[in-house]
């Protein structure tokens, strides 16, 4: 009986950890930046930007990109599916393509070059990591929790002076 209880408990614990792990995978959020830019020289070839791309994710229009524009979409999970409505050249009929991209787990922001992706080039051609600019924070931001600390020593602790929500 003891052994059984222990086994059940371990199983439940494992299940909870498994749920947590699954959540970490399916809930991982990524920001995807979509570039409609001409790649000028990939192995000697040029891939022209499209005239116009309409990106739809989960039935919602995420971006409408003209030449040299960048759009943004968010995505949870490890693969990203989007529907593209592409107008290659001015006056062309738009064509629709559905593209699925697998996303690396550890990267928050991903830049995808659409012309390269749609041309079926290898990953290193269309993929790059988005590195946010290091924002110079104003150094004087008050780091301390005590709201009433503006009087130097006088923000005496204790019943936080913060009434109300």
């Amino acid at each position: 009986m003891k052994g059984k209880t222990l086994a059940i408990r371990l199983a439940v614990l494992a299940a909870v950890i498994a749920v947590a792990a699954v959540m970490m995978v399916i809930g991982r959020g990524h920001t995807i930046y979509l570039d409609n830019k001409t790649i000028e020289d990939y192995q000697g070839q040029e891939y022209k930007s499209f005239e116009r791309v309409v990106v739809t994710v989960d039935g919602e229009e995420a971006a409408k990109l003209s030449k040299r524009e960048r759009g943004m979409a968010t995505c949870m999970g490890q693969s990203f599916t989007m529907t593209l409505e592409i107008t290659d050249k001015k006056g062309d009929e738009p064509r629709t393509e559905v593209v699925t991209v697998d996303l690396p787990y550890s990267v928050d922001g991903i830049v995808i070059n659409l012309p390269a992706l749609l041309a079926g080039l290898p990953e290193d051609a269309w993929y790059s990591e988005f590195v946010p600019q290091v924002q110079e924070e104003p150094e004087d931001e008050e780091p301390l929790p005590g709201e009433g600390d503006e009087f130097g020593l006088e923000g005496d602790l204790g019943l936080e002076g913060d009434l109300g929500v």
Binding site: P143, D162, L163, G164
Partner: protein
């Protein structure tokens, strides 16, 4: 065979003084505030969705006779720690909420254990101890979040770190899980958004509480709550039962805080928990609960009344006095006042029963003498 209770108007008034007062306050303030019905209802429904779970976490310690668990704030802090990690790991949406809940459990259990043990050392002073524990553990929380995080505990993203390199920023942004529960299956009806998933979770929680009352542990808690010595004599491990009740309450408070904060969408890292205990307790008491007795009905009624007052008081204050601050202060005063009143009534009631024995004796003597005279 049940004794029939005569409906006693005065008794009814005394037992329901606080809810009645609040109904009157609300009745006066609602027209003065000038809010539209749909706005008001929408606000109240939203607040019910985010707040009820937290308040439900108070019920179990009351059942175990430990009074209002001012220490629920400990659970709220555990929830916040979990949310900080989840935010740093960039887990979004409902999976993020679920993960935060799972992560909060070990922290909550640890804090609840500490709190429960200390409360067993201070029997009869549980409430003030829980109240003080808030501030004590707030200190520990600040130590961890402000100094250990990103220095000892790894935090990846610079965006939630303080610019100095360690510690967490004063606000944690939950934009990626904002209202993810509220919006799931939400129904919009005449301008009122009903957060269905929230209410389903609350419903499940209520069922759990009802079920819990019928378990052996629930029965033990009720016994311990009514008479510790008798329970001990019957072989119930009183101290352990009390600790378990506090742990359960702390864990649920952690979940509650996560639900609460996902609705708000961001939280002030160092102060988000500080008022939560006061609010939940005030709301529960407004619903007609007392220090030793509270039901699920009290929770619902309390949330509706308390939040109605909270929404309308500032505007009504402006309408009456022309000063917005007065309304703000008034609602704070009322929340504190309600708790004070409930505590005073509880303490007085504990001491009232005594003086009635004497009257009975005098009567019996008189009766005996009269009987003797007649015969």
């Amino acid at each position: 065979m049940k004794l029939k209770k005569n409906f006693d108007g005065l008794d009814f008034l005394q037992n329901n003084l606080v809810p009645l007062m609040f109904i009157i306050i609300c009745a006066v303030c609602i027209p003065l505030s000038g809010f539209s019905a749909s706005y008001l209802i929408n606000e109240i429904v939203t607040r019910m969705g985010r707040n009820i779970f937290l308040i439900l976490s108070l019920l179990i310690p009351i059942m175990a006779g430990m009074g209002l668990n001012f220490g629920m704030t400990l659970g709220a802090m555990a929830g916040q720690v979990a949310l900080i990690f989840v935010t740093d790991w960039q887990i979004w949406g409902i999976p993020g909420v679920v993960l935060a809940m799972i992560l909060s459990v070990p922290v909550s259990v640890l804090l609840g254990l500490l709190c429960g043990k200390l409360m067993n050392m201070a029997k009869g002073r549980e409430m003030i101890l829980g109240y003080m524990m808030n501030y004590f553990v707030t200190g520990l929380y600040q130590l961890v979040v402000l100094y250990f995080m990103a220095s000892i505990i790894p935090i990846r993203h610079a965006s939630i770190r303080l610019p100095r390199g360690f510690g967490i920023r004063t606000t944690v942004n939950l934009a990626n899980m904002r209202q993810c529960l509220d919006n799931e299956f939400a129904i919009l009806y005449k301008g009122v958004k009903i957060p269905v998933l929230n209410f389903i979770i609350i419903g499940v929680m209520c069922l759990i509480i009802v079920w819990f009352r019928r378990t052996k542990l629930g029965q033990d808690m009720r016994a311990v709550g009514q008479d510790m010595e008798v329970a001990q004599a019957a072989g119930i491990n009183v101290d352990r039962t009390r600790i378990i009740s506090i742990i359960i309450s702390t864990v649920f408070a952690g979940f509650g805080q996560i639900i609460y904060l996902q609705n708000i969408g961001n939280f002030p890292t160092y102060t988000a928990h500080s008022q939560i205990g006061m609010f939940c307790i005030a709301a529960l008491l407004v619903g007609g609960a007392s220090v030793e007795k509270a039901s699920i009905g009290n929770v619902f009624l309390g949330v509706i009344l308390f939040h109605t007052m909270f929404i309308v008081a500032p505007r009504a204050g402006v309408a009456i006095t022309g000063d917005a601050m007065i309304g703000e202060y008034f609602r704070v005063f009322v929340s504190y006042g309600v708790i004070t009143l409930a505590l005073v009534m509880y303490e007085i009631k504990k001491r009232r029963a005594r003086s009635q024995g004497g009257e009975l004796l005098a009567q019996a003597q008189r009766a005996r003498r009269e009987g003797g005279a007649q015969s």
